[in-house]
Amino acid sequence: MAGKVRAIVTTGYGTNCEMEMAHACRVAGADIVDIVHLSDILYGEVSLDSYHFLNLPGGFLDGDNLGAAQAGANRLRNGVIKDSGERLMDQVLRFVEQGGLILGVCNGFQLMVKAGLLPGFDGNYEERMVSLTYNDSGRFEDRWITCRFNQDSPCVFTRGLEYMDLPIRHGEGKFVAKDGETLGRLADSNLIVMQYVDKESGQPTQKYPDNPNGSELAIAGICDPTGRLMGLMPHPEAFHHKTNHPHWTRKEMPEDGAGIGIFRNGIEYLRKNVV
């Protein structure tokens, strides 16, 4: 499989953005894109070992019934692979160690922080340091926001990107850190990859609805220190074509949606560095 970028998009137990996530991977140039039900992994029929790019799409894992991705993270941690007895989490950790990329969007991001995959300080990918909690508005909301990317972040997915309009669709997207120190460390290490900005000024904002959930430091997405693991609340896969944008009937836009840029960066990184 040398030379081929292999992407896996997980689904099952309430995930629901797997189709467009896979579509975005294909449009962005991944050579092989498989949508895999978690049960296939838990049954040992598919392993993350044969992929380079793990996509954790949005949805409602277990209905978010104990809080977003709470039960999902519990499955990751306590679920074991049939026959081998390996923890699902151990397979994910091996995937990280072997240089794979992980992109978690919305519920996928919630899953990553709750499992401890992000921020992954000092190579510790199992400790929960930050979280995503109920929006200040107290509501699920679907609206388009604008975010700005951190030019100095190590994130491989966002190189060369400055601003992007994307939809958010969540009820629990308010980013909070365990404490001020954690937040400071995220900022200092440039792990804050993207922030919600005021549509007029282009500056990070706490103002609703430009900051749709009240996230600390207007954080919309973060990465780990290697830059290979990224999670974000906005949905780049939902802006895969210009017609997704709410203003596409109002102005000229490139045919590919801007969200594809994030996937393309990841895939190009893999092509250059891994496969």
Binding site: A71, Y134, G138, R139, D142, A177
Partner: protein, 1001 residues
């Protein structure tokens, strides 16, 4: 052993849920509430669970250590830095679906590495710590008036001292598990109908909530008295008496809900002039008849694939896919428990396209609600919820159902009328795509074969929804399961649909259908028509709790279940896949070709009837309809001097104002195919006319989804109400670019009881309204070439309010799916730039009968809008071509509030002003400016066109009524002149504010 885990947000974090309830307690209930903090409680009832596992659960999945604190077997409120006066705890009554509890149980199973036993479980409840000076009565009002629904939930209202006491006792309310107590023994009752008098038969029907009339009861009695029936039943061990299983199954199958007896009745229709027409089945004549006529006309180009025979109608989308679409109502359950009723409504209708053909992948939801006014101040009889509470509950139910299922909610409406106080209407619709071919067979067909296993998948069976909503709340008592209301469980359903789609593509089954109304009786019964009979072992069905009678198992409307017919050679593989994907699947019996409806319990036959009798034995209704045109007072009022103010008043009416508050809380973009969203324009807050989406991301072909509904016109004539509803759906779809030659509709009739009786003295008139509505549906659908492909009726939408019977206005929801060859040609309703030309298409007549404007003045009027079908058709065809050629910058249809509202909405959605000369608007002898502005004449549009496309556009529209009436401006004002006088001069920002304010919660 029962343990209690409590979880709450850390004190520094905003408790948005608590804040919301505190606000609503003040606003809606006028209570002195300062603040509320919430606590979640988990009662863990697991045998021998060790404290480590419990701690792990509490700190792991049950709470989030970054944002929350938790406690085990100690009151969390003691650790919270929050002063409170009252504690209100809300838990479920026994047997009510507890989705959080279910997931909490599964999470614990993963931690301890074993499955829960049947009697083990986790039960959740919510605590509200309330600060504010209130007496106990007020605290109880808060509990039952806002935080809990007595029908399905139990509440505890306590002071701090009381709570301390409860905790010390370690028993009582804080540790009470809502487990269902099995009562009585399992028994099949038999009834001797042959000895019953007419009165006794009717009494039996009434006592058993069977809703069968005398003629039907007699038909059943006579069937069981037939010698050959007695002989055959004897062979399987049954006597001449009918069993409760049989009687219940017949009552269900023959219900109005399932058999549509009114739509199939023989009706004598007496017109105003005394002439009499015999209507032989409204459904066959006007609905099915209309569709057949259209299909015949289409000939070999017929794109209808499956109509009126499956759970949803199916049309062709492209060579790869068909589209299945269905809309259902869930009115009575939503009146009782708005959240659960509406949630069940949406996840329930999901299973219709999912259970159509070999099973469709669901790609969009729609929903239309009709409520009483949210600011209603009048009295409400006991048992009736305030319309705002119904609104909020329904909104949230559909939100959870749609969002968690990952199906975008792309289109909808909310209407208000006081006549919906007693019966809100909750229409939920779902569309899905079906491969044209599944396992070398057409994907839109299915056929269970004799010998196939009857397999039930998904959720378990409880007493949910038995006899629908006919049970009243009084009949519920502590320890008895709540039967009246089902609560959907979207995640169990999602897991099931993921599984079944995989099984479909592996060719593991021959047929599939959903378990909705009537439960197994209906699903297995229907599929057995394909094979020719069935044998069902009721005792094999997995139950939520013990103690269900055989007839209850057969009839239960427990949700999230599909029934599939699995051939024996695939059965093991099917069941293995189910195990792997964590879906419960159980073999309950076999499809046969015996011609018999055959149920057994522990090996003993409990029902044995001819399939033919069950399905076709119901006697036909014979009804009378008498039409008399209602006469309303002709409105007399002076033309108001400030028409700008009038415009703002109309924009702020509940039926016209922005519904963004609701729309934003529904995911309308999941699956990535969103092209035209519900809210459009410069600030994404303008009202889109219809949705455009790509169900298949590999192609630019698109689906268009729209609807029409205008119950106010029924006050004058249901004939016009229907014509206007269909026209509205069609013109909405046209406005975004749909192809008029490829549209299909669904008819959902919500009527008041139209059968003359003591309770319904005006039944003859109401039935005449139904006849006229059907005639109109036929007329306009055949003229537009829009076939109805499926539909539904709900015929008893009446309520008794304070001793007065209130009937809903006869309401038709016409839902439409259309097609576009290329979604990149779609357009939106917002004006795009200054200096664009503004056109009005279509003539305005003096048609204000039933209008929002007349309603704002307290009138109904008589001149209801007429659809001029021929004119409209040529306009739609021309406009479609113009849109396809890229000549149109924006297009918005004129509906509620007429031309003035359409102009204002187009302007403020786009962020540019307009200068309009009303003298140029095509009008038919209207002398009043207000009438010209607010008349609701049909088939009209406001269109903007870039100046350089003027000629091409006008050429395209030649031969239709098209008038250039003004232009868009950079200036932010809507300026309308008439007879050289400025009649409206308003800032578009202020117009928008007036439109947004009413439902900006």
């Amino acid at each position: 052993m029962v343990c209690r885990i409590e979880v709450a947000l850390k004190s520094g974090l905003k408790d948005a849920l608590g804040d919301k309830y505190a606000r609503r307690a003040v606003e809606d209930l006028n209570l002195n509430v300062e603040a509320i903090r919430t606590v979640k409680a988990y009662l863990v009832d697991f045998e021998g669970i060790d404290s480590n596992a419990l701690k792990q659960a509490a700190e792991g999945p049950y709470s989030d250590p970054v944002t929350q604190i938790c406690s085990i077997d100690s009151p969390l409120f003691k650790q919270m830095e929050f002063e409170w006066d009252w504690l209100i705890e809300v838990g479920f009554r026994p047997g009510v679906t507890d989705n959080e509890g279910k997931i909490a149980k599964e999470a614990l199973e993963l931690i301890i590495g074993r499955k829960a036993a049947d009697e083990e479980g986790v039960y959740t409840s919510s605590q509200y710590l309330v600060r504010g000076e209130m007496n106990r009565e007020q605290a109880e009002k808060l509990a039952t008036g806002l935080l809990a629904n007595d029908l399905i939930q139990r509440t505890l209202v306590a002071t701090r001292e009381e709570m301390e006491r409860f905790w010390q006792a370690k028993e009582g309310p804080v540790y009470a598990i809502p487990r269902v107590q099995a009562e009585g023994e399992i028994v099949v009752k038999e009834m001797d109908l042959s000895a019953m008098s007419d009165d006794e038969l009717i009494q039996l029907s009434r006592d058993g909530v069977l809703a069968l009339n005398l003629k039907e009861m007699k038909t059943i009695r006579d069937y069981f008295a037939r010698p050959e029936v007695i002989e055959e039943r004897k062979k399987v061990g049954l006597g001449p008496k009918v069993t409760d299983v049989e009687l219940e199954a017949l009552a269900q199958t023959w219900s109005e809900h399932c058999k549509h007896k009114i739509f199939n009745a023989l009706i004598t229709y007496v017109d105003e002039d005394g002439s009499v027409v015999l209507e032989d089945s409204l459904f066959d004549t006007y609905i099915r008849g209309g569709t057949e006529e259209i299909r015949k006309r289409l000939g070999k180009d017929d794109w209808c694939l499956s109509v009126f025979k499956d759970n949803a109608g199916v049309i062709k989308f492209n060579d790869k896919y068909g589209v299945a679409f269905k809309v259902e109502t869930h009115n009575s359950p939503s009146a009782l428990d708005p959240y659960g009723g509406a949630l069940t409504g949406i996840v329930g209708v999901n299973r219709d396209p999912f259970g159509t053909g070999m099973g469709a992948k669901l790609v969009f939801n729609t929903d239309v609600f009709c409520f009483g006014p949210p600011d209603y101040k009048g009295d409400l009889p006991k048992g009736l919820l305030h319309p705002k509470r119904i609104f909020e509950g329904v909104r949230e139910g559909v939100e959870h159902g749609g969002n968690q299922s990952g199906i975008p909610t792309v289109n909808g409406s909310i209407l208000f009328d006081e006549r919906y106080l007693g019966k809100p209407l909750v229409f939920c619709g779902t569309g899905g795509v079906l491969p044209m071919e599944v396992c070398n067979r057409p994907g839109y067909e299915k056929k269970a074969q004799p010998g196939d296993a009857v397999v039930m998948c998904g959720g378990r069976i409880g007493k949910d929804g038995i006899h629908g909503a006919t049970f009243s709340s009084e009949e519920l008592h502590e320890g008895s399961p709540a039967t009246a209301v089902q609560i959907g469980d979207p995640i169990t359903q999602k897991k099931m649909t993921d599984f079944l789609l995989k099984a479909r593509d592996l060719c593991y089954y021959n047929s599939i259908t959903d378990n909705g109304a009537g439960g197994l009786s209906s699903s297995v019964g229907e599929m057995a028509e394909e094979a020719g009979g069935f044998e069902l072992h009721l005792d094999r069905a997995p139950l939520k709790y013990p103690g269900l009678q055989p007839w209850e198992i057969l009839l239960s409307e427990a949700q999230e279940r599909m029934t599939v017919a699995v051939p024996s050679d695939r059965l093991e593989a099917f069941l293995e896949l189910a195990r792997k994907m964590d879906v419960e699947a159980t073999v309950l019996g076999t499809f046969t070709d015996s011609g018999k409806f055959h149920c057994l319990y522990e090996g003993k036959t409990v029902a044995y009837m001819d399939m033919d009798f069950v399905h076709n034995g119901v006697p036909r209704l014979e009804l009378k309809a008498v039409w008399q045109h209602p006469e309303h007072e002709e409105p007399v009022f002076e033309e108001p001097s400030d028409l700008g103010k009038e415009l703002k008043t109309i924009l702020a009416r509940y039926n016209v104002c922005s519904k963004e508050y609701v729309v934003r809380q529904y995911d309308h973009e999941v699956q990535g195919g969103s092209v035209v969203k519900p809210m459009v324009g410069r600030w994404c807050d303008g009202p889109g006319d219809a949705a455009v989406l790509r169900p298949d991301l590999e192609t630019y072909e698109g689906l268009v989804v729209s609807h029409g509904i205008c119950p106010r016109y029924s006050d004058i004539d249901t004939y016009d109400m229907v014509c206007c509803a269909v026209d509205e759906a069609v013109r909405n779809a046209i406005a975004v670019g749909a192809d008029p030659a490829r549209m299909a509709g669904l008819d959902n009739f919500c009527w008041c009881d139209p059968v003359q009786s003591e309770k319904t003295p005006d039944g003859h008139y109401k039935l005449a309204q139904l006849v006229r509505a059907n005639r109109a549906l036929y007329e306009i659908c055949t003229a537009y070439g829009v076939p109805c492909i499926s539909g539904k009726d709900s015929m008893k939408n009446d309520a008794n309010i304070g001793g007065v019977k209130i009937s809903i206005p006869p309401t038709l929801l016409f839902s439409l799916i259309g097609r576009m060859d290329d979604v990149r040609k779609a357009i939106t309703m917002d004006v795009k730039a200054p200096g664009h030309l503004v056109y009005v298409l279509g003539t305005t007549y003096e048609e204000l009968g039933g209008s929002e404007y007349f309603a704002s003045k307290g009138f109904v009027g008589n001149r209801v809008p007429q659809v001029r079908i021929k004119e409209a058709r040529s306009r739609y065809a021309a406009l479609h071509n113009a849109i396809n050629k890229g000549l149109v910058a924006s297009c918005h249809d004129c509906s509620d509030g007429g031309l003035a509202v359409a102009l204002a909405e187009s302007a403020f959605a786009g962020g540019f002003g307009m200068e309009i000369d009303l003298d140029l608007v095509p009008a038919d002898s209207i002398d009043r400016t207000d009438y010209l502005l607010f008349s609701e004449s049909q088939s009209r549009f406001v269109v903007t066109v870039a100046t350089e496309k003027k000629k091409e556009f006008e050429d395209e529209m030649a031969g239709t009524v098209t008038a250039l009436v003004g232009e868009t401006t950079r200036d932010q004002a809507l300026t309308i002149t008439h007879h050289d006088r400025k009649v409206i001069f308003e800032d578009i920002g202020l117009l928008k504010r007036a439109w947004k304010e009413p439902i900006d919660w």
